[in-house]
Amino acid sequence: MARITKRLGWTLSAIIVAATPALSGGPVDEQLIIDGETEIITRAPAPEGHPLDEVTSGWLYRTDETRALEADSFQNPGMLYVEQGETIWNTVDGAAGKSCASCHGDGKEFLKGIGAHYPKWDADAKRPINVELQINKCREANMQAEPYKFDAPDQRALTTFIRHQSLGEPVSIDLTSGDMQSWWEKGKETYYTRMGQLNLSCASCHEDNNGNYIRADHLSQGNVNGFPTYRLKQSEMVSLHNRFRGCIRDTRAAFPAAFSDELMALEVYVTWRGTGLGVETPSVRQ
């Protein structure tokens, strides 16, 4: 078994290396300016303790056509979900007869900048929560509504709307509150742990090989500043935990549940790795 795993690992390295010279690698030297107005930070100096010198957005690794799609807010299909999310924000749901707007008012005002700073420590749950869990907490406690099931269309649309109100705001999370630091450590451990039959860690692709190709796929640093992202493959909004699970599944490993401790820790760590990049939600990816 160990031998098979090793051989698969070798095969994969060969795929990565062999594909590299055939196509130009590395991130492009372009600026992301949405509608010619909103400049998005796609390169930032890495935070202290980061293994790389510079953090880069996945936008820089995509083709001209995919980059253009994100740079035009009309053409970006993710904006359809932003609009749906705003409708949900203003729609009453649950026994308390409230909408998000009943307490928070106009989402475009209230939410400005908020989404750029999740996940954050939740003193009640004694664990970090992300935007999806914050929505569910509000739904249960204040709206007396059912929490959304993972990846319910309304959860994705509302999360997209909330994150979009931080468009361009640099990502930063507070690691000093509560136990965030130890969750960061846990997430870091997961990031570097090799998994699955392909024996890959997150770092195998996104740290050691970003800019190279895995088959025809141009590997980015795997930063999460654009999530939820409109993925051309699914032609749908894809949530971060959906992508985490997909990526782990592709290593041919059993994958953890969405919002589990393991994936929440990974979200804390990976979000920190992209510190300083502008929020791009809804980004457009391959």
């Binding site: 009309f74 053409q75 299909p77 359809l80 979900y81 609009e83 749906q84 949900i88 032609s235």
Partner: protein, 108 residues
């Protein structure tokens, strides 16, 4: 959320005789009829099969769509504007539903 709300981008005003670009986008899965669900059954086709743009009641551009048009269909085309008026955009779904948008334009 069964929300097929269209988005349309039309300039608010144009010079007489100007050719303007119109962009439209509508949320729709464009189910091709080729895809199988988790149980292995073919998911029946359901697409938007026709798009029409009328200006002041006159058809100026239409598009017949087949299942090879991507989900959330996007269309960009041009119209020469000789007078002020109203655009009416119509999308026809396989199930008979019709989605509409209306935009007016001024001419200076």
């Amino acid at each position: 959320m069964a929300d097929n709300k269209p988005r349309v981008k039309v300039p608010k005003k144009a010079a007489k005789g100007e050719v303007i670009a119109i962009k439209t986008l509508i949320s729709h899965p464009m189910e091709s009829g080729q895809r199988k669900d988790k149980a292995g059954n073919l998911v029946p086709r359901q697409i938007i099969n026709k798009f029409t743009c009328e200006f002041n009641g006159q058809v100026v551009f239409t598009c017949d769509m087949d299942p090879a048009v991507s989900a959330n269909p996007y269309l960009e085309f041009n119209v020469r504007v000789d007078e002020p008026g109203t655009f009416k955009f119509t999308w026809v779904d396989d199930d008979g539903s019709i989605y509409e948008a209306v935009n007016s334009i001024a001419v200076e």
